[in-house]
């Protein structure tokens, strides 16, 4: 009897939550700025989500999961890269962190790398709202739930984040064309 209940629960988890695994990974990847770390943290967060799943009362499973992923990411950053949470990187620090690669020169002018570096240079609280809005297509209500902020502040947070992104992009336009390094684990899509 216990087993029947349990497998039902797991089946429900696999049906409702597991499909949002890409969303979880993408969000973690942008918060942590690394595919390898994102993979670890996503796995940890999914297992945690399963443990809390009985407390999930239906509704927006993606937002519920992303909230757990976000918590796991910030905890991870605090433990492993607290500097990410307190510093607003200038591009020189950021380039060191990103590393260099032989293929870099070939793709440096690439629009994607250019945008990726700009987005990664933003502080996490700006970066996360942009990723949730522009990549994940979340509504303000979902962003408020995921980032634990009042819905009234989502619009202004986004406005500030976009302004920052514009600034970084306009500052780096010249340099990107000249060929700046890209991160090693930017990886294939």
């Amino acid at each position: 009897m216990a087993d029947v209940l349990e497998s039902g629960e797991r089946e429900r988890f696999e049906r409702l939550v597991m499909p949002h695994q890409d969303a979880a990974f993408n969000f973690a990847r942008w918060l942590l700025r690394s595919r390898a770390d994102a993979e670890d943290v996503t796995q940890e967060a999914m297992v945690r989500a399963y443990r809390f799943f009985r407390g999930f009362r239906g509704g927006d499973a993606r937002a519920w999961l992303l909230q757990i992923v976000r918590n796991a990411c910030y905890t991870w950053l605090e433990k492993n890269r607290a500097v990410d949470l307190t510093t607003e990187f200038d591009e020189s620090i950021h380039q060191q962190h990103s590393g260099n690669s032989p293929e870099a020169a070939a793709v440096a002018a690439n629009e994607r790398d250019h945008l990726m570096r700009a987005l990664e240079s933003l502080p996490p609280r700006s970066r996360e709202v942009l990723v949730l809005r522009e990549l994940e297509g979340c509504s303000y209500k979902e962003i408020a739930a995921i980032a634990s902020v009042p819905i009234g502040t989502v619009m202004s947070t986004l406005a500030r984040a976009r302004e920052r992104l514009q600034q970084v992009l306009s500052r780096s336009t010249g340099r990107a064309a000249a060929g700046t390094p890209v991160r090693r684990d930017g990886g294939a899509l």
Binding site: M46, Y74, E134, L169
Partner: protein, 254 residues
């Protein structure tokens, strides 16, 4: 000079998040504000380039298998924690009638355990954090009886402002503050003294979800009081009386 609306409403408009009335209002504003028109154009092209750059990164192949495997093994582990398992085995070799009764009983327990298991996870974290803090050198990250030292210490470490107050006048002198992690998120731990005991008050913003921590109770000799006020959730825990914890929580929520 920048138009104020270009830094606020414009984004709600761009995202289709304004109610019809405000959207209409903003459209009327657009007719006469060249700055907002220019900014809207820039934002639209920024969005277009973000979306065409294929920045979305999918999970690597194999991650889902790893997750499923770990869930299965985590499940097996948590089953071992249920002390009734060996009893169940023991009963299983006993008389058939006993087995029937036991299965009926344990089946019921299992359903109850579904909820209390999660409750236990949240509560256990609170109790563990309290016990951990009582180990030498772990009580506070900032030790001060002055709320004007403790409060600013949290600045930039949390995305909310915990209500820090010295309550020495009321018999709860402030001892200090600490960052702790509950339920995967960083929370403020305020430490108060009460006679020779320490009280931890964990404070975090309401998650919007119903909390699974019971309003009050005792476990392992520790008493806790859980409540909400002003958009925050509070959990005070200590070995002092529940009445003391009530008083402290109420004072903090004033």
């Amino acid at each position: 000079m920048t138009c104020d609306l270009s830094r606020s409403l414009l984004h709600g408009y761009l995202d289709g998040e304004l109610d019809p009335l405000r959207a209409e209002e903003f459209e009327r504003h657009l007719e006469s504000c060249s700055q907002c028109i220019a900014q809207l154009g820039e934002q639209e092209s920024l969005r277009a380039s973000l979306q065409s750059a294929q920045l979305y990164e999918r999970a690597p192949a194999g991650l889902s298998t790893k997750i499923k495997r770990q869930i299965a093994s985590a499940e097996a582990e948590s089953d071992d924690q249920w002390s009734w398992v060996p009893i169940w085995r023991w009963i299983a070799v006993s008389a058939a009638i006993v087995v029937l009764v036991a299965v009926a009983y344990l089946g019921g327990q299992r359903i109850l355990a579904g909820r209390s298991g999660v409750e236990q996870a949240e509560l256990t974290e609170v109790i563990d954090a309290h016990v951990r803090s009582l180990q030498p050198g772990h009580l506070t990250d900032v030790a001060s009886t002055d709320q004007h030292n403790v409060k600013p210490w949290f600045d930039g470490k949390l995305d909310y402002v915990p209500p820090v107050r010295d309550l020495a006048e009321n018999g709860f002198p402030l001892v200090g503050g600490r960052l702790d992690v509950l339920n995967g998120r960083s929370v403020a731990a305020l430490v108060y003294g009460r006679r020779k005991h320490f009280i931890n008050v964990f404070v975090w913003p309401e998650s919007g979800k119903e909390s699974l921590i019971p309003a009050t109770g005792t476990r392992n000799g520790y008493q806790w009081i859980y409540s909400r006020a002003h958009g925050m959730e509070f959990c005070a825990i200590s070995d002092v009386s529940a009445a003391d914890l009530h008083d402290l929580t109420e004072l903090l929520q004033e």
